[in-house]
Structures are given as structure tokens and as C-alpha cells.
Symmetry: D3
Subunit: 236 residues, 6 copies
């Protein structure tokens, strides 16, 4: 049994980029944690931030509940992720609370700044999660172990070349069901970016599936670091 | 009015990877030439080569006819492309016959050897097409001009990052119609690789469209070379 | 008619790296905005910062005036660009004021830290410019549109491989005239780095011209992102 | 039970670059085939080719016998690998004879020309092994399946960044024992390149082990292609 | 006689990654400065930070003394390097104090966040070290010269491809002796990461030596920038 | 005293891409060999090949004579370089005749096919030059040593990022004088490609000089291979 953590910048990022993989982990009996760093409260041009934040937290809880995942709600203001000391402390506490064997987060080459900075904060907090003397933390240090760090695809798959694939054909409908919980964002993407989220997610999963030799797939890359070149598969 | 040439390894490669763009060129009044280097006669496990080659030539002629393109049939044996002197001579003659302003061919990083070698032969024949003293050529030298060379996407879009896009939304149905002419290959792909060609082409065009901000797109990269860094768009 | 914005770190960066392109846009009737993020007031070893900042602003206004460009003067202290919240707010306001269709800024791989951080701030402010609820902004949100983002060459063209070129042969003398307005920097570069700016700019434009097949050119790369893979040319 | 094939250019390449992994496959009950494309008969400055070829074949058979691997002896003249039609035919027959589920060969970026060309020939023969109508072959077509293709590290690990690792700690002594069979080459490397092969192999396996978090490892990269993005681990 | 500066994030980084090269510089009569940015006081799970910081400073002084190097002790809290204004000021003062002709620091692609940020701070402080009007500095500006900037290998050499090598065969025992001064860290690495530092350093130096054609080597890459493309060797 | 060999595809390639460096070697007393693989006899649209070949050989001899270099004239037909067995034999003999310590040739990423194939042939012949039993060679094996292999810039410097620079400021006029010997090609470049060779060479050398911090420079990259990671500078 492993602890699986996915840290995303906004509500719905997990569902778009990683949910199929997390469903498979959940079905195998692993413990899943969603960490959503911001409240996604700027992602609309009509609904005011305070109201939107509450809506999006509720939608995220519904999505996480579908696979029995625990939700850590970071509550950082949307579009305001910075790799500074304060947010580092928050990220260290998130990692400590999840004590992960496997971490998923955004790719450092993503084209949304919040995504990049969340990725950087996860990278930056990797060692500190297991060091007991870091000051100003709310949570005690977790294992100083060799958690594996995977980077997720981006919205639209722009310039992303996966090195790892997970077959999500059998759980794709659950992924879509989880995404559909994010009603507010499904609507906003339609208005702001003329994008049908469900269709976009299907095209992307199908495109990755063509590469992977299955119907639907999610793609990832892995961070290489000392003693973390894997000699077994930890992906489902 | 420009001369547009697409050189592909097998019948159906043009339709899968470039037809939308060629339809648009044709609609703008440019002169289109299809060059199919091999007869695609090995691409089946049941139909004997001689018979298959004839079928595929016929299917290709039908597809080219849809947009009034001229067809140059290379007739090289399928799976036997080599960047040697004999095939170089053939490729130089093909380029000379088309006298192109814009050339499309496979990417040098494609994962099918025939595609790679056709790409290499086009690259290798670029200067010679315009040099009058190359011996053993059937065709006279054409213009020694600065034709632009674009590389096409590959089957499934594996590891290919386009730097240029063409919006093919309005002509996508024509592209599919051209592809459908290749009945024998549509069937073989289903049997050999469990692939529905029409669906694969739609997923890929839609995926490139997500990147390009339109419904359907084809993606390309451009060869950079002396005096060929473009200062205007020659793509439709 | 498009709104064209160039955001640079220091006075004279625009003239060195992008002015030819901006002249061409201006000649085509587009609206040009120069945004100079710092006052360039550290760029000398003799003239004190306060005095130097005033000189450089005056010089920049003269250069911008040559093509009737609007100037936004960021006023950040030279050599003190940081991608923090305060400067993010400033950059969002700059983008909102210009409401750009096309943005030019430094490359993220530039070797001057101020250049890199300005580039990062532009990247980081892209979505926020169009989101109405971002707090603490002086300017109202502008269009949430798909502005194109281009990265400029660097000083000396070190390790920069352009993917796009603009032919500036006919306007090169205007570019040099604009650069010549920066008298203080022309002098400082001579003293600090033993560099004749006008000559360096000519060599670099000529070198890019060799690649582009014209006398003088400026080179750029483009940021690829969701729905921003261009299907038409927005460069002059 | 899978068919595992390793195609190398010279006797001793398999032992240096892949033997640990093959031992592990053998211990798991898979069927192992060594294919050595050249006879390695030029690799000495004193022993004449004909004599050396016989010595090296004998040494290779001893090494293969240690893990009960089948040996296919290509017999091409050392330093004379060319990706031409004749050697392509030979390579297709080798692949057909082994009918592999997993193929290992040299990396296309290796710095020995024979290694590169063997790699290219394997790449070039991939589809043809399963196509029944390829003329002039001695062996009948094998499965047209989705064999996975892995590229091996190079001698000294120069510029090679593995994406996959196999833990060979427990079988490292067997790898060294297999290498030691190549007495003639151990001696030649000492004379020609001042290299102690056993020590070099230990340093390299230990270095890859540092990355992989184990005592000794071998590193590989994987060829990405249509339907070959793996969703499970086929490495031991 | 040149001023050689090595800026590292933690005590023992210099010894692991650069000491052999610094010994050689010292033997040639150059002036060596060690700058250790943090006190390394979080690098243990038992010894409290305050105590650990003192131990590590003492150990570092012993190591530096072996080659008569000057030590600048940054004193930043371990795991708390940020590329912000405060630490930038500190780094500028460090560079000014050393007034370097050659600078070594961590690679921007290192996988420890402190290493990356130290690298970034060095990069960011490069020009400011020689500009006299930077406010809030303790040290006066040093030369505005063309110091060369080299990036060091990382722990375990993960994904690092050196472009420059220094032969440290004759001074390798001194490097190991310097490393051995870091008793506390040798012990912590054993406990936290199951790593024998001396053995790891030997494997890595030997591996780089295989590439460089000598027994032991250290590898580096060089920052390319305007007027800093070297036309002579400044490495020993 | 070292043996310096430059192998180029056509007459005038050495002068354009490497002559400054060779002048400096010559001035330091090293032995210089020019090897021109083809006779350049296709490089004109008016002068017939046989006549042109003679003209170009004469021009090349004049250029080589200026620095007392030996000339090996390969005599291969222009635009007909192939990496096949026959041309491999020729290249091995060329390398054996020069017995080089340092080799310069075209970059494998050059955009002229003859340049690429000459580069590949040099790469392919590296080991064989020192192996005594290679059949069908005219020359006896030379040293099996660790000659360094450098790749030259390309015409126009397209997409080439040098990692090594040679300061040719003091010998630039000699380089131009050598280039001027190639009267026929100076004329052809003007006609065929609208290029003033002397001006192009000056722009490129000046551009590389900007990077290298001198007036004129030539840029190179180095091939990394086992035991060839240099620990000293062999460039002038």
C-alpha cells in the first residue's frame, strides 16, 4: 500500500491531467491525496473571488469523493503562487501531511505560471519534508524516503513528450465523471477560451492512447535524481 | 502561383499527414504535385506485392484527382528505400519535375525507416535539382531557387512538436475523403496494427487543432538553412 | 490595426533587439507601445543613479518619438528586477495599459538577470491581464485574448536560434537612428565592455540577415501554448 | 515467457553493456538470444583477422553458454557495418530467427560507427521482420508484433542519460564472469586503449547504480513509436 | 595569478564537486576562495541546527586550510536559499570580496533546490559585483571584468554531461582528505541516504576520468555569454 | 609539433570555416594538411565539370600554399559524397596519410549533404585509421591514438552554437587572402546565391568574435567520446 499524492495549482487540474491514473491507484487499494494549492477563485470574469472559491472547493470535494481521496485545500489566492518562503512552508506541510511514496505535480515547462510555481515549490520542498528541524512548520517531518516525482501533461498537451504512460481506458468514464463535478470551470472554459473541457480531455487522452497502444492514456515524465532512477514500475 | 510538392514514402502518407494543407493550397490556385516514392506493395500480409502495388497506385490516383493534383509515382519497392546513388538520381528527377517553391516531406525523426530515408533523399537532392551538370539524370535542372522545406508530422504524432500550423477545419472532410480512397490500407491498418485510420487521423488533427486554436490543424517543422529563414508565410 | 507591445528591461534594449520590427509595424499603421521596466540607472560607473535615470528616460522618449510609439516607463531600479508580487502587479498594469495583440520581450534564456526576470514577469502576467478580480491593480482588466508572445534575440546573439525572422533592411537606418538616441549607453558600453553598440547591432542584424536571405533581419522565437500555435503570420 | 534479443556489433559489447539485464531475464525463465553482427576480427593490431575471428566466436560462445543463451553469429567483417541492402537482409533474418518481444541494441548516438550502423539496421528492420513478402530473405516472417526496442549505454557512458535502469547487483559477478570469457579483447583493450575492461565495467555499473539507488545497475533508453509507449514494465 | 572562487550551497559541496580542481589551482599559485552560502545546519535528523552549524563551519575551515584557501561563510539557514533581494545583496558582497577571475558554482539543473538557487544568485549577481552604485552593499564594487563562470557536476552525476574536464589524478588523495574533514556529513549521508561519500566521490571521479582519458577527473560546463566565449583555457 | 588535418567537402570550405585557425597552427609550427574530398566540379551552372574541377584544384593549391599546408585532393565527384564502402576506404587513406593529432571537419548538422556525409565518413574512419588489418587500403595504418575531432561552423552559421572559439583577429587578413584564391567560387556564389563571400565571411567571423570577446573568431564544437574529454587545450 503506497501513499499517492497529486499536487495541482487549481481545482480541476487533477481531473484533467491525472485523474485516470489516480482512479487506477485507488482501485489497487493505495491511499490517494489530492492537494489543490489555490482556490481557483480568479478563474471567472463574472463570479467574484470569494464566492467562486467556495464553489470550487465544493466541486473539488465532490470529485475527490468519487474515488475516496483525501483533499488538502491549500487556499492560496488563485494566480498568486510564488516560490517564496511563506508558500514553501505551506507546501512542506502539504507533503508532510501526505507522506507520499509517489508525487504527481505540474511540469516545470507548463505554460501557466501558477502551474510552474507549484511544480517548483514541490521540487523545492522535497528534501525538507523529511528534515525535522525546519522551523515554522505546522506538521512534523515525514519519512526522508525516496519518493518518486512525476510531472503531468499540460492543458492541450503543448510541447509535452511523455516518457511514461498509464492505460486509463477502463477508468476513463470515471475520469470524465470527476471532471464533470467542476461545473463552474466547465462553463468558464467555454466562455473564456471557447473550450469544451470534456471534449478536450477526450482528444488528449485518445492522442496519448495512440502513442501508448491503448484506447485512453495519461502521459508523464519523471524527475531524475540521485538514487531515484527507478528499477521497478510504481505507476499503475 | 506556386509549385507545391509533397514527397512521401508510401501511398496514404500524404493523405494522413499533409492533405488538408494541400487542399488549401489547391483552393488558392497553386499547382500541387504528389510524389509517392514507393509503391507501398509490402504493406499487407496477404495480398502479393505485384497486385498490391497496382491497387495502391490506383487508390492514390483517385485521392490526388480529388484536388486535381499531379501524381509522380516513384515505383521503388516498399520497405526498400536507401539513400544511395540510384535512389538519389530518382529523387533529383522528382524534384526537377515538380520544380517546387515549397516542399513537404517526412521528418528526419520519423520512426519508419522508409520515411526517414525519403526525408534524407529529399534533403540530399535539394541543391542538385538546380545544378545542370549532374550526370545520369532524366530531367533537366529546374530553378536553383530557395524552395522552402517543411517536415510533416508522423503517424500518431509521436514525439513531434510542430513549429508551424495550418488550419484545415474547413477542408477536413476533403482530407478524410482523400484518405478513404486508400481502401486497401485502411483495411491493412485495421488488421496489422488494430488501427482505425480515419479515427486516428481525426484525433491527431483535433489534437493539433487544440494547440493551434482551431478545430482541425496539421503541424509542421521547417528546415533552417542559409537564406531560408523565412520573413513571410508561404503556408496557407 | 493591432496593438504591439515591446517590454524590455533597460532603455536601449528595445532599440538593439526589436526596433526594426517595430518600425515596420508602425509603418503599417499599428499602434506601438514601448515598455521599459527599469530606468537603467545603474548602467554606468561614473554617473550617479538618479541623474542617469533621468538621462536615460529622456533618451528613450526621443527614440520612441521617432516612430510615434507610446512609452510606458516602469521606473524599477536597474539591476533590481525580481519576479515577486510587487513587480508582478506592475507588469500586469503595463500589459493592461497596452492591451496587446502581439508582445515582444526578452528570451527566458538571456544571460542578463534583469532580462530573464522581465521575461518571466511578462510570462507570469499573461493570464492576469484579462482577469477582472486580480486585487491591487491600478488598471482595469484588458481583453482576455490570445495575444502572441515573441522572445527577442540577446545582446550578441549568444546561443540564440531564431525560429522567426523579420526583414528590416529598408528600416535599418531608422533602427540605428533610434539607437543613437541612447548617447549615455553608447558611451558606457564603450567604456565598460569595449563595445561599439552601433557596430555590434549592425553585425548582428547582418548575421541574422544571412540566415533570412535579406540584408538585415531581426530574429525571434515564439512561445507555444494552448490555442496559440499560429496559423497566420502576425509579424510584419 | 518472452523472447529477449540483444543485437550488438562486436563480441564483448553484450557483456559490457547488457549482460546483467540478460542474466536477470534468464533467471526469470525467458529465452535469451545473443546476436553478434560482426566477428570482431579487426580489433587487434597483432592477431590476423581470420584467426582473431575464430578466437572471438569461441569466447562469445563461452559467455553465452553461462546463461544458456542462443548465439546468432552474423559474421560480418569487423569495422565494415553499412546500412545497405545486403546487411539489411541479414539483420531482418536475425530478427526473424529470434522473434523478439524485447530488443536491445546500441544507441544511435554511440561513438563507434559499427555500433551506430547496427543500431540503424535494427531500427530499419523492425517492420520488415513481420512482413511476409520481403524478397531474398532466408527466414520466414515472424510476428508483426509490438516488440519494444531499448538502446544500451556506450563504452564509458559518454553523454548517455539513461531513462530506464535495471538493478544488476545480485548478478554482477556473473556479468563479470561472462566478460572475462573475452580474453583476447580484455588484452587488446589494455594494449590499444590502456583500459582495464573489468575495472571500467565496474565503475560504469557502480555509477549507474548511484543514480538508480542500488549497488550496480545497467541503464537504457527506449525508442518511442506508435503504440509502443509502454504502460507496463517489460524490463526485469 | 588569478582569483578563483567556488560558491557552494552547503559545507562539503565544494569538496565533493570541485576540490580536485581547486587543489590544482592552488598548486599553480592562484588565490583560492571558498564561499559556503548556508551553514548546512539542517542536514541531520538528530543534531540540532545551532550545534550542527558550528560543527560544519569548523569542518569546512579544516578542509579549506588544507590548500590555504580563504573561507567566506555565508551563514544563510540551510534549506532556505531564495533568489530574493536580501540574499542577492549577500551574494554580491561575496563576489566582490573574492573579485574572481574564475567562478565555480552549482549547475542550474542540479536537483537540490539550495544548489539551484545558489547558482541563480551567482548568475544574478554577476554584473552587479562591478557596478559601483548598487545600494545596500557592504563591500565596494570589484572589477567589472569578464570573469568566467563554470557549473559543477552534481551529487551522483545525474543527467550531467560535462563539456570541460580537469585531470585530478595526482591530487585525488588531497580531495579525499579534504572531504574527510566533513565528519558530520559523512555520517549523515550514511544514515539518511545510505551513501558512503568517499566511495561515491571515487566512483564519480573515476567515471569522469574514463571520459577524460585519465584516472580521476572533475567535469564542468561553462556559461556562454557575450564576450565570454573563451579563446584560451583558464582551467588547470 | 602536432599534425593538424582539416577535411572538407569542397574547395573553399576550409577557407570559409577554418582557415584562421589553421593559420594560427601554422604560425606555431604545426604541420597542416588540407584534405578536400570532392573536386567541387558541380558548383557552377555554366563551366563544365571537368574544366571546373581543374580550376578549383588550382585555386585550392594556391590557398594552401599561403600557409605551406599540404593538400590531399580526394577527387570525388562534387555532390556525390556517400558514406559507402568505397568512399570509406578513401577517407581512411586520407586520415592515415595525415596521421592527425587534431581533425577538423564539417558538423553532422550541416545543411549541405556533401558536408554531412564527409563528416560522417571522418567519424566512421576514426578507428580504422589505426587498425592494421583493414583490407583494400593504399596506406598503412597510422597511430591508433586519441586524435581530437572538432566540427566546424557552417555557411552562414545557421543553428550552430560553438562551444570552442579561436581568436583569429591577427590572421583574419590571411584568411581573406586564402579565400580570395577561390576566384571561380567567389563568382559562382554571387551568381547562384547572391552572396558576396568575403563579406559573408567577415560578418560571420565578426559575429563569432562578439561572442568570444575579440575582433574575429572561428567557432567549433568537439566530439565527446571515450578518453577524448580534453583536459588541456589543443586549439591555438
Amino acid at each position: 500500500m503506497m501513499n499517492i499524492l497529486c499536487v495541482a495549482a487549481h481545482p480541476d487540474d487533477i481531473e484533467i491531467l491525472c485523474a485516470g491514473t489516480l482512479v487506477r491507484y485507488a482501485q489497487e487499494g493505495h491511499k490517494i491525496t489530492f492537494a489543490v494549492f489555490t482556490s481557483g477563485n480568479m478563474g471567472d470574469t463574472f463570479i467574484p473571488p470569494e464566492e467562486l472559491g467556495k464553489i470550487r472547493e465544493k466541486e473539488t470535494r465532490e470529485a475527490a469523493a468519487i474515488i475516496g481521496a483525501k483533499l488538502i485545500w491549500g487556499g492560496v489566492m488563485d494566480e498568486h503562487v510564488f516560490p517564496d518562503q511563506q508558500q514553501r512552508h505551506l507546501m512542506i506541510d502539504i507533503l508532510r501531511e501526505a507522506d507520499p511514496d509517489v508525487i504527481f505535480t505540474h511540469s516545470p515547462n507548463d505554460y501557466h505560471p501558477d502551474h510552474r510555481y507549484v511544480s517548483q515549490l514541490v521540487f523545492d520542498s522535497y528534501f525538507q519534508k523529511g528534515l525535522p528541524f525546519i522551523p515554522n512548520q505546522s506538521k512534523p517531518a515525514c519519512r526522508f524516503g525516496q519518493a518518486q516525482l512525476y510531472y503531468m501533461d499540460n492543458l492541450g498537451g503543448i510541447g509535452f513528450i511523455p516518457s511514461e504512460y498509464v492505460d486509463i481506458s477502463k477508468v476513463f468514464s470515471i475520469k470524465q465523471q470527476m471532471l464533470a463535478c467542476h461545473k463552474s470551470q466547465v462553463q468558464a472554459m467555454q466562455q473564456l477560451a471557447d473550450t469544451n473541457l470534456a471534449e478536450m480531455v477526450e482528444v488528449q487522452a485518445r492522442f496519448r492512447g495512440l502513442a501508448a497502444g491503448c484506447r485512453y492514456a495519461e502521459g508523464f515524465t519523471r524527475l531524475d535524481a540521485y538514487q531515484r532512477g527507478l528499477t521497478k514500475r510504481v505507476l499503475p
